[in-house]
Amino acid sequence: MLDVRSPLLSVKNLQSWYGESHILHGVSFDVHQGEVVTLLGRNGAGKTTTLKSIMGIVGQRSGAVTFEGRELIGLASNQVARAGIALCPEERGIFASLTVEENLMLPPEVKKGGLSLDTIFELFPNLKERLGSSQGTKLSGGEQQMLAIARILRTGARMLLLDEPTEGLAPVIIQQIGKTIRTLKQQGFTILLVEQNFRFASTVADRYYVMENGRVAESFARADLDANLEKLHEYLGV
């Protein structure tokens, strides 16, 4: 049995490189079971690289990434996925050569207990109507984002990495995504959310980490958001 107090996902002194460029310089943070934790930070701070490093899709990395007590750092990304972590990438990654339905059904089941299609269509009613669409990339930006989230809910992964799911979307759609994240949290999903839009993040997050230049510069809980607003503005340059 796991100690209830030990984190579900623990990142310690994570360093990453793209070829010669050293991008992450020792990132450390924890995510507990059932939490929504947000990584904030400016463009180029290393948020996406952190998610990719957890997934095992950057060239070279060192440090420790433990999930359910198991070390992931040496694993290939397909094995990380099989451990029960799913990524919704920043560029959404909808496949043009697949229909909407094929896109939705693409990620294989990695664990028992994924959401049923009915539950997924309750969360994203628009997707059901677009199921017959011939090409995944013919959907609108918002629909593509929903598809990108929906397809990883089927897999049974209980730890979701969402990379800027609100980027470039209209306010109503952002609201719908916020509602979805809260529902997922209620259902026991654990979510690591990357955001630049901290107003949106503040509607869903339990805790925040702020990244700068490939390091975690600051962390605080939901309750301390107001007290940290000024610092946050500085970090994010808003």
Partner: protein, 295 residues
């Protein structure tokens, strides 16, 4: 017998049939090339050497183990496919991140080695391979004589081509393949063992070439250079159809075989060059090929 445009029907349909036979091989081979290029980003110049290996495997299976045509049609592609898998694991896998040119050069080198080995042991004269008894003879259709074996080649090639198309375009496995062609990193991050899929795809593409080789053995002689004479035309077919399109490779393969056959009837002087003329025109008008997706 009757005439069409002043050409006796037997001559016309005879050439049409030869065109369809050639088209069957063009389609099978360019299909394998397209599947391999889509997944591996490698232009498999060794394809026609692997076709020749299929024919040789059938010949050796018959003469060393007594396994006949029907058995060879299954066993030879499996053996040559395994050879392909070994080549992919040992050599090709190191080239994916490099320019296409490296894959082309490596597989070209493989052609020289494979053909050299075959020539060393068997000389360059063709070796005979007899047609299976069940497919000897033919049908008189009235307007032409249809040899059974040729009808079989056309049907078998069409069936294998369409089955391959179906698997790639209409099944879940095919969805993995198409998605991995577009974004292998993400597909792998969903939990799919993409490197294994790439290896098996190469093995399958090579097995398709070997399958064509076994079917060719009774028609053409089994000889070390039987593939080289084909590869240039097959590459032209691939260029015309467009790299990476499955249906494109099939349709273009059969279509160009027929065009070549008809040219032999109406304008024989051009029959050896017509495919290259079409290639030049397609390259001018639609550089990505008739069915190509990428610009």
């Amino acid at each position: 017998m009757f005439e069409i445009f002043g050409i006796p029907s037997t001559a016309l349909f005879g050439q049409l049939l030869i065109g369809l036979i050639n088209g069957s091989f063009y389609a099978l081979l360019s299909l394998g090339l397209a599947v391999i290029f889509g997944m591996l980003n490698v232009i498999n110049f060794a394809h026609c050497a692997q076709y020749m290996m299929g024919a040789f495997a059938a010949f050796l299976l018959l003469n060393l183990t007594g396994l006949g045509y029907w058995g060879a049609l299954i066993v030879a592609p499996i053996l040559v496919g395994i050879f392909g898998i070994i080549v992919e694991r040992c050599l090709l896998q190191w080239l994916y991140k490099l320019d296409h040119l490296y894959g082309l050069l490596l597989t070209f080198g493989l052609v020289l080695i494979i053909e050299g080995v075959a020539r060393n042991f068997y000389g360059s004269a063709g070796l005979p391979y007899t047609m299976p008894e069940s497919l000897q003879g033919g049908q008189n259709l009235g307007f032409m004589f249809l040899p059974n074996y040729r009808a079989w080649v056309i049907v078998a090639s069409l069936t294998v081509c369409l089955a391959t198309w179906f698997v790639i375009e209409r099944t879940r496995l095919g969805a993995y393949l198409r998605a991995a062609t577009e974004n292998p990193t993400l597909v792998r991050a969903f939990g799919i063992n993409v490197p294994l899929m790439i290896t098996l795809t190469y093995g399958f593409g090579v097995a398709l070439a070997a399958f064509a080789g076994v079917m060719a053995a009774p028609i053409y002689n089994v000889s070390p250079q039987m593939g080289s004479s084909l590869i240039i035309v097959v590459f032209a077919v691939v260029v015309i159809g467009g790299m990476g399109s499955i249906m494109g490779a099939i349709v273009t393969g059969f279509g160009l075989g027929i065009v070549e056959g008809l040219t032999k009837v109406f304008f024989p002087e051009a029959s050896n060059t017509v495919i290259f003329v079409i290639m030049a025109i397609v390259l001018l008008v639609r550089p990505a090929g008739l069915f190509g997706r990428r610009a």
